[in-house]
């Protein structure tokens, strides 16, 4: 019998399961991947590659769920963060870097006039919703079905009846269903605090969807008529679709923008940005968290913004992602599969037309993992500036083999 290539991962997991609910919880749970095909624990990473607890190396297209944009262990980012850390990270007061980063973000993210910092995306989206409610004096939040805005009770999949009051004022519409959106505004007229959307729709377990050209104009019109705010949750897409914010790419005009993940290349940092219109609500709101103003992630973020530009920015990720998409779709077609890559080029996700239950997807991603490519079967992928043309070519070549193998099983 062949040795188990994830023996250590499994051994650690068994220990963990005794003292940690689920062993590993949430989006990193083995059950969200394909147990036995993907590692549970990562030991180290560099550039576009991760090395798991058993020493298996993967070309990684999950990028720390999108947080890695200039590569794992990017020297400039790590140096900036570590140097700041050595002089003090979490202090009584923020470091002066906080003002530097705020100025940098406000000047970069189009239409925004101020920013506050936090740690996770959930912090930013939840703060945005709170500010929208305070600013408008209204309660109802409109969001898209299947959208992910974090792990807080108002938006998570913890659908326990005890938590229902937290979701009571959240109304959902089908993404791109403009009539449905209008109907929600009619139903909740006078009570809508905000609409919150991700720049493009990236539900788990389903193909991604780009916004209908009329979506954002409609959102803007309805929000203006209702005097509601529009919140752009740019946490997953941020810095991969447009250097000035993903809303610019799609012509949207948000009042509040949430960013995190790629902002500091994996150093823990989130930010909420807003227009002057919402400034007084932010001024009066008690915003804090023990770690929210720690300096090292802010230093890392400043370096990361520089590195993004130096390494080619959105244009390069777009080109790499396009090559990946075209290569995968072509390889699939050659083997007789209608494999489609959905979403923006830098945030791709492959599914098969004839496979609504994702069996083929799981087969494909499992076989790619066997060959050393980490392509999540149920969650969108990410291209980073650390991926090389050679990485993309090797991925497509491996995919070609897998498609042929799968074709033989038909």
């Amino acid at each position: 019998m062949a040795a188990d290539r994830f023996a250590r991962s499994k051994a650690v997991f068994e220990r963990a399961a005794r003292v940690i609910p689920g062993g590993i919880y949430g989006t990193k749970s083995p059950g969200f991947l394909l147990p036995g095909k993907f590692p549970y624990y990562i030991e180290s990473a560099s550039g576009s590659r991760i090395t798991d607890a058993d020493g298996n190396v993967f070309v990684d297209y999950l990028c720390g769920f999108g947080s890695q944009i200039v590569g794992y262990g990017n020297p400039a980012v790590e140096r900036a963060g570590s140097e700041r850390s050595a002089r003090g990270d979490l202090l009584n007061q923020p470091s002066p870097l906080m003002a530097d980063l705020a100025e940098r973000l406000v000047s970069r993210i189009r239409g925004m006039d101020w920013t506050v910092f936090a740690k996770n995306g959930t912090d930013a989206t939840t703060l945005a919703v709170s500010l929208a409610r305070v600013h408008t004096g209204k309660r109802v939040v409109i969001a898209a079905e299947g959208a992910y805005h974090g792990a807080a009770n108002w938006c998570s999949s913890n659908l326990f009846p005890e938590l229902a009051p937290d979701r009571a004022d959240v109304a959902l519409f089908r993404y791109n269903d403009l009539e449905g959106l209008e109907a929600l505004f009619r139903r909740h007229r006078g009570n809508v605090a905000c609409v919150i959307l991700t720049p493009h729709h990236h539900p788990a377990f389903r193909p991604q969807v780009l916004p209908d050209p009329e979506l954002y104009p409609t959102v803007r019109r309805l929000c203006q008529a209702e005097d509601a705010l529009f919140v752009m949750d740019d946490i997953r897409d941020g810095f991969r679709l447009h250097p000035e914010g993903s809303h610019v790419r799609f012509g949207a005009e948000p009042d509040l923008v949430c960013v995190a993940k790629a902002l500091a290349n994996g150093w823990p940092l989130a930010a909420l940005l807003g227009t002057g219109r919402v400034r007084s609500a932010a001024d009066s709101f008690f915003i804090t968290g023990t770690y929210w103003m720690s300096g090292a992630p802010m230093a890392a973020a400043l370096a990361c913004l520089d590195e993004m530009e130096r390494m080619g920015g959105v244009g390069r990720m777009e080109a790499l992602g396009t090559a990946l998409r075209e290569g995968l779709e072509s390889a699939g077609r050659e083997a007789g599969f209608s494999a489609r890559v959905s979403g923006p080029a830098a945030i791709p996700y492959l599914t098969f037309d004839e496979d609504p239950d994702l069996y083929l997807n799981q087969r494909f991603c499992g076989a790619m993992a066997d060959r050393g490519f980490f392509l999540h079967p149920h969650h969108n992928w990410f291209v980073s500036l650390a991926h090389s043309e050679a990485d993309i070519a090797a991925t497509v070549e491996a995919a070609r083999e897998v498609f042929v193998e799968m074709s033989g099983e038909r």
């Binding site: 068994e14 590993i24 059950g31 788990a204 239950d357 799981q362």
Partner: protein, 305 residues
């Protein structure tokens, strides 16, 4: 949920009673062929109903040497009166008696074979836990019985407990096959907030023996509307997700509550293929059902559970 019967709200008591009715009916039917004495008692026809006022009754019927069960409002194929109805005056009595502690139960004769039905029930109800606990019982048999109990509890919990409705509503619809290994399989179809037992696509439920003339599922143990015709139709049915255990032992560990499903997945003792959120929706219901089944009838320890 509180751990003792006396602490449950009236609505929770009714859910628990409904689960106990279904699980008991299906377990005694599934255990019937496994114990020689019970098998002997089920050789001749009988019809037994388990009833709590205001709740759908469960029915166990012996026909042509086979024992079948229906619960949760499933309609039996022949609407004949039961030979014997075991009437529990309240949900609390039902939950107590079917958990093996004293409570009120009234035997109401309704047909010629009331005595036979009662003898069968007493023997089968004693045999099922004995078979489950016996070290002699092969893992596949234990897994089959536990799976039968689990799917019954899932169906009834989904039908009766509003607590799980938001989770089920959130999960996609579809058909799930649970494969406990060594040919032990059951299928559930999830539609909205409801679950129902359906034939396993591609399997001929008649293969276990002769098919009764009324077209019911001869394999019994609660395959509503079964039969060869439906099995043939099921061949064309798409399976949306498969929860497969590595072997019956792994299935027993999860279905008996000794190991959580997520831990079993991580340990590669179970796998999910297909529509993962559909199975996750079932896990949420299974978790709730397990809490019901863990409710103790008496606060003082010592009734053997």
């Amino acid at each position: 949920m509180r751990p003792f019967l006396d602490d449950l709200a009236p609505a929770e008591l009714r859910v628990l009673a409904r689960i106990r009715l279904a699980v008991t009916a299906r377990l005694v039917a599934a255990a019937a062929p496994l114990d020689p004495a019970v098998r002997e008692l089920s050789a001749r026809p009988f019809r037994l109903a388990l009833k709590v006022p205001g709740l759908p009754r469960a029915l166990v019927a012996g026909l042509d040497g086979r024992v079948s069960a229906w619960a949760g409002g499933e309609a039996p194929p022949l609407r004949l009166p039961a030979d014997l109805t075991l009437l529990f005056p309240s949900a609390r009595d039902c939950a107590r008696v079917l958990d093996g502690v004293p409570g009120r139960v009234l035997p109401v004769p309704g047909g010629l074979h009331a005595g036979r039905a009662l003898r069968f029930f007493r023997a089968a109800a004693a045999a099922a836990p004995r078979i489950l606990k016996s070290p002699e019982t092969p893992p596949a048999v234990r897994a089959a019985l536990l799976l039968e109990a689990a799917v019954s509890a899932l169906v009834e919990t989904a039908a009766a407990d509003p607590y799980v409705a938001p989770k089920l509503e959130h999960a996609p619809d579809g058909l799930v096959v649970v494969d406990a290994g060594e040919g032990v399989r059951r299928a559930l179809r999830k539609e909205g907030t409801r679950l129902r037992l359906v034939p396993v696509p591609g399997e001929d439920p008649g293969s276990a023996g002769a098919e009764p003339p009324d077209g019911t599922d001869p394999a019994g143990a609660g395959r509503p509307g079964g039969g060869r015709a439906e099995a043939a139709r099921a061949d064309a049915v798409r399976i949306d997700a498969i929860l497969a255990f590595r072997d019956p032992g792994a299935a027993v560990a999860v279905l008996s509550g000794k190991k959580s499903a997520v831990t079993a997945l991580g340990a590669c003792e179970a796998s999910i293929r297909g529509l993962v959120p559909l199975v996750q929706g079932l896990f949420a219901v299974l978790d709730r059902a397990s809490r019901y089944l863990a409710v103790k009838a008496d606060k003082e320890a010592g009734h053997g559970r």
